[in-house]
Subunit: 461 residues, 2 copies
């Protein structure tokens, strides 16, 4: 293999790992690296080329993903067999400038599993929008979201989560951040300025409310979810809960507590913000019905999103407001614009109407439950007495307690070097342990065992 | 407890364990099983009901998860305590509810011209995204916007508007509102808290800055654009201008004034916010090059959008920051998420790369210049001595001075009744006149004459 020389790319447009990836790919395609030939180890490649191990790892991961090389456990990386027809002609004499392709070679450095979404079905619905519904694209989207999508969301949530609502109560937005700021404005107009949150809990939402001037009261979480007896009484507040799958503990709020929480809201004129994230991704038993459907007092706001059940690049979230809050939203909605793509909203409405969404959820449940099992087994096999997996029943991640003095950030960086998404949970465990969220959903099933083996080895160093 | 009888569910849609779970839940909720009462053991339940132990276990687990029953080690299962109000009503027999179609029959009440965009070309690019670039949809969009689109925007603006920038300076957002709030944050970090605006001018932008705590100084507009001699000196401010097509006067800033404005910015450490809206839609002569391209001092922020040149439902806007402001944005961008659809950004990048965007602009220029001419002629024909049209050289609207005592709102409502978009300009003309923006772009060419004839009749009543 010829030595790698980084390009004189003054504007640093092309990341180094892509330059390295292209160099090796070229060496393979031109035959300078033969099929079966062993590639330099990450360490020696890095020392020779002067690049960081991370950069080399990213380049190798890209080559692995595209199938140019293979990884053999405890041995190293080898050139894979590639049909000869794939030998690409010499690159045409490019001008000095960058090209379109240079900019589509984006990656966030993590693994992604193409098995997790059927883009062909989506494409079919998208095409229908531009043929059958193109007239609708000649004017702007409704600030509240497309009526057709709001209707499909109501239908779906009624049958899958027991949520009862009419399309007029649904507000669609491009992500949680946008909807939370609408919500903050509505709560302010209702005279509410204190948000109770789960501790430990999902911090981004807390931060949005804090930045918008709300007081935050952290309420501890027990096995039965948030401790209702510690919620403020005699004042009107809002409590943010995730009863179906508490983050990061995974606790599920039992039916008795649900009614107690609803009673608390009723008695104090308070509002429950029910974040039902990942609730469709339960792998054992039937999903627990939503609080919203049990609420007879119109005190629950239901929050959901499509990012985990469609594909990560889609940013469509929604909330279901009780009728009196929907009225407040109507009175202020002209102050906002809908930033969610109208074409994408209509595509999703057709995708749901045609039943593809339901089919996809079923497929994901089966695929992710296998990934979850493989993940838990691999940590048992390679990390016994070192890593303990908890919160292993649903969703797209599990919680790990790692017995180490390494910092959370270093542990996450080790994951990133392998292309695995890991985040600190911010949960306080004892001093000898670190608490992490491990995302298994985007790791291809057949690589879970191998990658976790490597991860545990890196962690133990 | 009543004995369990599996349903005559021929299609076997509902799994047996869920049927059993529902049966027991119902027995609890209706009081047939009392709080604290012991449930049959798994073994006896199975032998009584004829179901497998696995099925019974699954049903009990679901009831446990939802909190309807409790498990006492070495004793068995017991009915948990649940507030009595939780008795769920019989499932309603759903009537003939609304259908998907009922919700896609949306309209905003205005006319729309399908001639103004070729959705088939767009569909082609959109399909390519889901076939060739689907991998990119497996992770979230860059907060700054997709690199491929930022690159295409630079290429396009260089050739069409003389704007010089690298993709790292471009920030993409879902509409002006979002970008303006990024901009406000950047300016605040630079110590700028006063925005100078054109008077008369485009008010929504002013309002966003005002709502975010900026002071607003209104600077009069003359024939040569904003009056530079009236801008504040010796303090660092920002001025929001539209030199290519001032709203609503239509004045174009001549080259001499452009250099004067750039000098003012340089001397006072101030920033020019150049809104180049509709600049591509000029029908006479060559478009005036952008201020940004003349600026050698990095003091210009360039603002643009695709809503007028693609289709109204697309919400993709962009701004081009000078390098030092792009650095500030980089340091804060993790506080935001990209709300613009990633698939739509990639579609647009392909649409531009393939040259369709340029073709569409040419087509629009020809179509809209005909509409503009027809509009001006119709007002001359039917509204002489009553309506005067000004600002009739570019864009998607003209300015009308109507000699009437009817209020602006009534005049606009008359337009809406005919499906025509008309807005007050907020410009002060003499008491006997009303100043309106008349949008001709979405009226089909062959209906312009007829509709304006009717409109003038309604206005004269």
């Amino acid at each position: 293999m010829k030595p790698f020389v980084p390009g004189k790319d003054k504007e640093k447009i092309t990341p180094l790992y892509i330059q390295l990836y292209r160099h090796i790919k070229n060496e393979i395609l031109t035959g300078n690296l033969a099929v079966g030939e062993k590639l330099p180890s990450l360490r020696s490649l890095s020392s020779e080329s002067g690049l960081s191990i991370t950069t080399s790892t990213q380049a190798y991961n890209q080559l692995l993903t595209e199938g140019y090389i293979l990884s053999r456990p405890q041995s190293g990386y080898y050139v894979a067999e590639i049909p000869t027809s794939s030998v690409i002609p010499e690159e045409s004499s490019k001008g000095p400038g960058p090209e379109f392709r240079d900019y589509t070679f984006d990656s966030d450095g993590y693994l992604h599993d193409p098995e997790s979404f059927d883009f062909q079905k989506w494409k079919k619905c998208s095409s229908r929008v531009f043929t059958e519904y193109e007239d609708l694209l000649l004017f702007e989207s409704d600030v509240q979201g497309e009526a057709a999508l709001r209707f499909e969301i109501c239908k779906y949530l009624y049958s899958s989560r027991g949520v009862t609502a009419s399309p007029g109560q649904v507000v669609i937005g491009a992500g949680t951040q946008q909807l939370t700021s609408h919500l903050a404005r509505i709560l302010t107009l209702m005279g509410i300025d204190l948000i109770c949150t789960e501790d430990p809990g999902y911090t981004p939402i807390q931060n949005i409310f804090r930045d918008m001037g709300f007081g935050i009261a952290k309420i501890p979480v027990g096995e039965r979810g948030i401790m209702i007896e510690k919620l403020p009484v005699n004042i009107s507040t809002a409590v943010y809960v995730s009863p179906a799958n508490q983050f990061p503990t995974g606790s599920v709020m039992p039916i008795g507590s649900r009614y107690n929480l609803l009673n608390w809201a009723k008695e104090n004129g308070s509002i429950i913000l029910e974040d039902d994230y990942d609730s469709e991704l339960r792998y054992f038993g039937k999903p627990v019905p939503a609080l919203q459907g049990l609420d007879e007092n119109n005190s629950t706001v239901y929050l959901g999103s499509f990012s985990s059940t469609l594909f990560p690049a889609i940013k469509i979230s929604y909330m279901i407001l009780p009728p009196h809050m929907a009225e407040i939203f109507s009175s202020i909605k002209d102050d906002y614009t809908q930033t969610c793509s109208k074409a994408e909203q209509l595509t999703l409405a057709l995708f749901m109407e045609d039943g593809y969404y339901y089919t996809n959820i079923r497929k994901l449940r089966s695929l992710y439950s296998q990934k979850l099992e493989a993940t838990v087994q691999a940590f048992e096999k390679y990390g016994r007495d070192f890593v303990e997996a908890t919160n292993t029943k649903s969703g797209i991640n599990i919680t790990l307690d790692v017995r180490t003095k390494k910092s959370e950030n270093l542990l996450c960086q080790d994951g990133k070097d392998l292309g695995i998404h890991i985040k600190p949970t911010q949960m306080k465990v004892d001093k000898e342990k670190r608490s992490l969220s491990f995302y298994f959903n985007q790791i291809p099933l057949d690589r879970i065992d191998f990658l976790i083996k490597n991860l545990v080895e890196m962690w133990k160093k």
